[in-house]
């Protein structure tokens, strides 16, 4: 599975994109975040306040409790600020 990070989430994690092999029990966006946080202090900092984290599954906005089964690409980013 490909994980993408944008804006300050990308800066805190320290990478824009990575491929991960997930344990079988990672079923939702929220459990994926928990698993990512265990990977180091950068991830820990990026996902410290979940109110500021938005997610997309295969380029579509997703809630934290959404299932990631079958997904190719999960993205994490702060609330958008375009326009």
């Amino acid at each position: 599975m490909r994980i993408l990070y944008f804006s300050w989430v990308r800066q805190k994690v320290g990478t824009a994109e990575e491929a991960v092999a997930l344990p079988a029990d990672i079923a939702t966006v929220a459990t994926l975040i928990d698993w990512l946080k265990s990977r180091g202090p950068g991830y820990e900092a990026a996902f410290e306040n979940l109110k500021l984290i938005r997610a997309a599954i295969d380029q579509t906005h997703a809630e934290l409790d959404a299932s990631i089964a079958g997904a190719d690409e999960i993205a994490f980013f702060p609330p958008v600020t375009g326009g």
Binding site: L4, F6, S7, W8, A56, Q59, T60, H61, E73, A75, F77, P78, P79, V80, T81, G82, G83
Partner: protein
């Protein structure tokens, strides 16, 4: 129509392209967003941006009678006074054109994956934008 680009846009030319040769358009509304006193860098999520803008545009066409519409969003480095975003809606009547343009901007502001940076500081999302977007929520039932 959707475009994401680094270069500027020409509002008059874009309106002309949407309306020329047509006699079924009675109302054209444009919204242009401009950079105020800061220097901005705009990052986006390319694979998602276009899909999300197309979803937002399709929803506007479902909700209002539109003859044509256009959304252009710039990315990259922008200076004070530069154009950032253009929304154009064309309809037989002004009510549809105005409402669709406001809707497109409110949804773009809260759903399209762009992020603005001023120098080293990422711009924070505004609650007022979430409030503005909420007024378009369809009532359940």
């Amino acid at each position: 129509m959707i475009r994401v680009q680094t270069q500027d846009f020409d509002i008059g030319a874009e309106i002309a392209a949407l309306t020329s040769g047509r006699t079924d358009i009675g109302a054209v509304v444009t919204f242009t967003g401009l950079v105020r006193d800061v220097t901005l860098e705009l990052e986006h999520y390319p694979a998602m941006t276009e899909r999300e803008l197309e979803r937002i545009e399709a929803e506007a066409h479902e909700r209002w009678m539109l003859q044509a519409s256009l959304v252009i969003h710039r990315v990259g480095k922008l200076s004070p006074g530069d154009n950032i975003v253009l929304v154009v809606t064309a309809s037989a009547h002004r009510g549809d054109a105005f409402q669709a343009a406001e809707f497109l901007m409110d949804y773009l502001k809260t759903r399209a994956p762009f992020w603005k940076r001023e120098g080293e500081k990422w711009v924070e999302a505004r609650e007022s934008d979430d409030e503005a977007a909420k007024r378009w929520s369809k009532k359940s039932g």
